[in-house]
């Protein structure tokens, strides 16, 4: 479904600030995979998501979605294939438009937008039905401006919108990190529910190791622009945060040793 082959990305090449954000990333997701990605700050997690969504072009390597090489497609040209939820709850919705208008925009993901009416009675019925899944009462507030919703409500709406028109890949970039624990829990639960119901192929970046272990069927750990650990469902099962930290120390120690050898 999603394949990254030897993807490299360097920021500010040739300057003192040069940073190799991705080094030869190889990643393959099968249909229906729900992969959580963890790693320290600057490990390259967000860069991977941006390379998949098209926000960043890789220096080398290819990105294939659903058998289609999309490496050189800009972000808005890939939007038909990729749904995204950002870390910032404000980023995924248009605050001055109403809930139903935001839904109408999501409904037309990747399609040509012409002079058809944005919100029709038929669409409104579908939106109401979809929104009721969130159990936030938003289905009764279709005409409310999204800017009036709380952060948690907006993020739940962003999630619904991102998954509404059946993307091939769902990218979640620490989408619960900016919420208080209770709302984060709610959005996590909704994420699992929606992803499972629709069988979405999902890549979720998170800072929360416990969440990374609990959610999804596969776990990837990144460090310094590389994938250093890739656990499938069986390997993941029964692991604890302590185990993960142990693995991390072990691998990090090894790379440190390598560097020492090279110097």
């Amino acid at each position: 479904m999603l394949t990254l082959t030897d993807v490299n990305k360097t920021f500010f090449p040739g300057t003192v600030n040069e940073r190799r954000a991705l080094r030869g990333i190889e990643l393959h997701l099968s249909e229906g995979d729900f992969v959580t990605v963890i790693g320290s700050n600057g490990a390259g997690k967000s860069t991977v998501l941006n390379v998949i969504s098209g926000g960043l072009a890789p220096d080398s390597g290819t990105v294939t979605i659903d058998g289609r090489n999309v490496t050189r497609l800009k972000d808005h040209r890939r939007a038909a294939l990729v749904g995204r939820v950002f870390q910032d709850p404000m980023a995924g919705t248009a605050p001055h438009l109403s809930i139903e208008e935001n839904m109408a925009i999501a409904d037309k993901r990747g399609a040509t937008r012409m002079l058809g009416r944005g919100v029709t009675h038929a669409k409104r019925r579908r939106f109401r039905e979809a929104l009721s899944v969130l159990e936030l009462g938003l289905e009764n507030r279709l005409k409310a401006k999204v800017g009036l919703l709380s952060g948690g409500q907006r993020q739940a709406l962003s999630l619904l919108m991102a998954t509404f028109s059946d993307p091939r890949i769902l990218l979640l970039d620490e989408h619960t990190a900016a919420l208080d624990p209770q709302r984060a829990e709610l959005v996590t639960r909704l994420t699992e529910q929606i992803v499972t119901d629709q069988g979405l192929t999902t890549l979720m970046v998170t800072h929360n190791m416990e969440q990374a272990l609990r959610v999804g069927n596969r776990l990837v750990m990144m460090h310094d622009g590389q994938i250093i650990l890739d656990l499938d469902e069986e390997q993941k099962c029964g692991k604890t945060v302590r185990d993960l930290l142990g693995e991390f120390e072990k691998i990090k120690g090894a790379t440190l040793d390598d560097k020492t050898l090279l110097q």
Binding site: H76, A79, A94, I105, R113, A144, L148, S150, Q182
Partner: protein, 328 residues
């Protein structure tokens, strides 16, 4: 006073254009000063050369559209700051307008214009012409409101509201900005064509400072009549344009002379921008925001504190702070 209302309604077409860029795209577009004159110049020169006066509105529309496309290309493809892109087009248009007219002033005396039938019927300066101009302005406002509710229009609104979001739903925001600027300046061009025929000449200086009149109309109208919906907002722009011309007229009657009008315009805009930020108005706005019925209902239902309630998904809306203001 009737003339002020007529002018307000004619300039309202221009103000609707300014509304598209300034409020919808969040892009202060200074092309207006140039494209207004372009519309007037195209109309005047066409009429002098025997073109059907009603057809000149279409020609002015196209001319303004192209001017907007230029600014849009400079801004999006050329990555030039929006204000600068508008100023560049505006200055370039000054020369182009002179080329179109071949001189600084094209009189339409004795020519058959779109306004002539109104003049012949003795409607100008009375309620008859005010009714006709109002009908035209309102019709255009309704068309604009309709457009903004189409799929394309929603994408344009979102482009000005949250660019990152709308790109993630597959919209090329560059194209949206170019289209918005083009439609805006097309309206401005049409307004110029009407003004030229109304006053009986096109002049190279007629667009100077016009963006201020446009902004004043938008800000004034929306400060008074609000922005509850797009429909209210566009009608408010028309009302704002009329109020602006009436205010100018009043300033003239109290003894200021026409040369003071640019200063009066600037002061009006400053007042319209600053006054709504004053504490008294801010408090009123907060009350209006709270009037959202769903929000009020949700605010009544405190989020449950028990773990069971939490996992059931609280009707979520403990009255946490709204995430953005409700005005546009």
């Amino acid at each position: 006073m009737n003339t002020a209302i007529e002018l307000g309604l004619i300039y309202a077409i221009m103000a609707l254009g300014v509304y598209v860029t300034f409020r919808i795209l969040d892009f202060p577009d200074l092309t207006v000063d140039g494209s207004f004159t372009t519309g007037a110049a195209v109309a005047a020169i066409s009429i002098v050369n025997g073109v059907n006066p009603y057809l000149t509105f279409l020609l002015a529309f196209v001319a303004g559209f192209l001017a907007g496309v230029i600014t849009g290309l400079l801004h999006t493809k050329g990555r030039i700051n929006g204000l600068l892109a508008g100023i560049l087009t505006q200055i370039a248009l000054y020369s182009i307008n002179l080329r179109i007219m071949a001189k600084a002033n094209v009189p339409l005396l004795g020519e058959e214009t779109a306004i002539s039938p109104l003049k012949d019927a003795g409607l100008i300066g009375g309620w008859g012409s005010i009714g006709i101009f109002a009908a035209v302005a309102i019709l255009l406002a309704l068309i604009l409101a309709w457009f903004l509710h189409t799929d394309l229009g929603l994408a344009m609104q979102a482009t000005g509201d949250n660019e990152k979001m709308i790109r993630s739903y597959g919209v090329n925001t560059d194209n949206q900005k170019i289209l918005g600027l083009a439609l805006s300046n097309a309206l401005v061009g049409v307004s110029g064509a009407v003004v030229a025929q109304f006053q009986g000449f096109a002049d190279i200086g007629m667009g100077i400072g016009l963006i201020i009149a446009g902004l004043a109309s938008v800000i004034l109208g929306q400060a008074i009549f609000g922005t509850r919906s797009i429909l209210v907002a566009v009608l408010a722009v028309i009302a704002g344009s009329v109020l602006y011309r009436v205010a100018i007229q009043l300033a003239l009657t109290v003894g200021l002379d026409p040369n003071d009008m640019k200063l009066v315009s600037a002061v009006l805009v400053v007042i319209a921008l600053v006054v709504p930020q004053m504490p008294f108005f801010r408090r009123r706005k907060a009350l209006v925001n709270r009037a959202d019925p769903g929000g009020a209902a949700a605010a009544g239902a405190e989020a449950p504190t028990s773990p069971a309630g939490a996992t059931a998904g609280a009707p979520a809306g403990a009255p946490d702070a709204p995430t953005a203001g409700g005005t546009r």
